[in-house]
Symmetry: C2
Subunit: 227 residues, 2 copies
């Protein structure tokens, strides 16, 4: 029975079920039996699709790219009104925080799986890190374009800092569940990045020393006024 599902469908459903189980009860309780039960499949279906539990975990890492974070970021700035870079960054970060508040277990699951991979599956964690990096790059480019600014530091560096800042934001909120403090931290992050951008002047297309930018103001556009 159940011939109706193709191998790829079974594989995808098992991965989804695994994510739900890990989000609900943690990686330790995500046994082959728990996952197949969650997916409504017989136990034998597991090793019919995956050769081992480790392979399923690697598949989870590959599957769960940062698409949600990126989507939340971009959707947050759909409103076409012109805004300061700080506001744009705050909107993007706040969109991610709402995502985190909506489904904390999922983000915690991603963290648990990533930490597992750091120990036991270095290639997978490198790939996931690269995906995160691309998402951060796209977010920074998008924000700079919206605000009409350019970054005064290599955007590659800034992308890594943004990824690290997102992880820090996530861990802190998962630990104390203090959304108000998290939003204060978001403003801190946004202002920190905004301090590293300058308005793009159409005249100055000329090359400029990449390092040692010639004095850049703390912010730009609408100056930050409060906390």
């Amino acid at each position: 029975m159940m011939r109706r599902l193709s191998l790829e469908q079974r594989r995808a459903e098992l991965i989804d079920a695994a994510i739900r189980v890990i989000a609900r009860d943690g990686l330790a309780t995500a046994s082959t039996r728990a996952i197949t039960a969650e997916a409504g499949m017989p136990l034998g279906a597991f090793h019919y699709v995956f050769t081992s539990r480790e392979e399923l975990i690697s598949a989870v890492i590959e599957q769960v790219t940062d698409e949600e974070r990126l989507a939340a970021w971009f959707e947050a700035n759909l409103i076409g009104e012109p805004a300061s870079l700080t506001d744009i960054l705050v909107a993007g970060l706040d969109a991610y925080l709402r995502l985190l508040e909506t489904d904390p277990g999922r983000e915690q699951a991603l963290l648990e799986v990533a930490m597992h991979a750091v120990r036991h599956d270095q290639p997978a964690v490198r790939a996931q890190w690269a995906t995160y990096h691309r998402a951060a790059l796209a977010s920074l480019d998008h924000a700079a374009e919206l605000a009409g600014v350019r970054w005064v530091e290599p955007v590659e560096r800034l992308a890594r800092s943004l990824t690290a800042s997102l992880d820090g934001l996530t861990i802190a909120w998962l630990t104390d569940r203090d959304s108000e403090a998290a939003r204060a931290h978001i403003r801190f992050i946004a202002r920190s990045f905004a301090a590293l951008a300058v308005p793009v002047v159409p005249a100055a297309q000329a090359p400029q020393a990449p390092q040692a930018p010639p004095e850049h103001p703390g912010g730009h556009g609408r100056e930050d006024t409060a906390c």
Copy 2:
């Protein structure tokens, strides 16, 4: 046999052994047998000291406060030479990064145990978070005093941001092991915090609007010159 060890000594040695095992092979492999073997004790010694494995994990969380991070931070600024706030913060953060580079497994162990506690032992993780917060507070006060500045935002908020930034720094390095990029991120963090401090002027003890500080320069003292 082995009557020589008191209950407290056994307890402490089991906790240390557990940390070593978790640091080496992860929380999942830290079984009662692995821990007692690491400690050079018979299996029975485990439930002679702890009532359950969960109790041991909680004890690990309580034991491993942030004393190492704090110690590294303060020792980094023992050299009494006057320095800019940015340099002081960089020195403290770099000291922590060296700690992380020296013993990555240990910091990863703390993260794994903390994530476990977020799911299964909320009180323990709250206590650990409070300890982290106190350490961050002390670090910020220490840095401000050394640099002769005061923070223009509530130091409580800044302490939480510092804790989150440290966690983000840790996760990023554990993931890509890129020490150079991590040090660039450290400079980013240091400058971000330095932007939120103003020189303390002995004359101006007068109250000042805590929020909306009257325009503060991006940095202070020695202006940041490069990346």
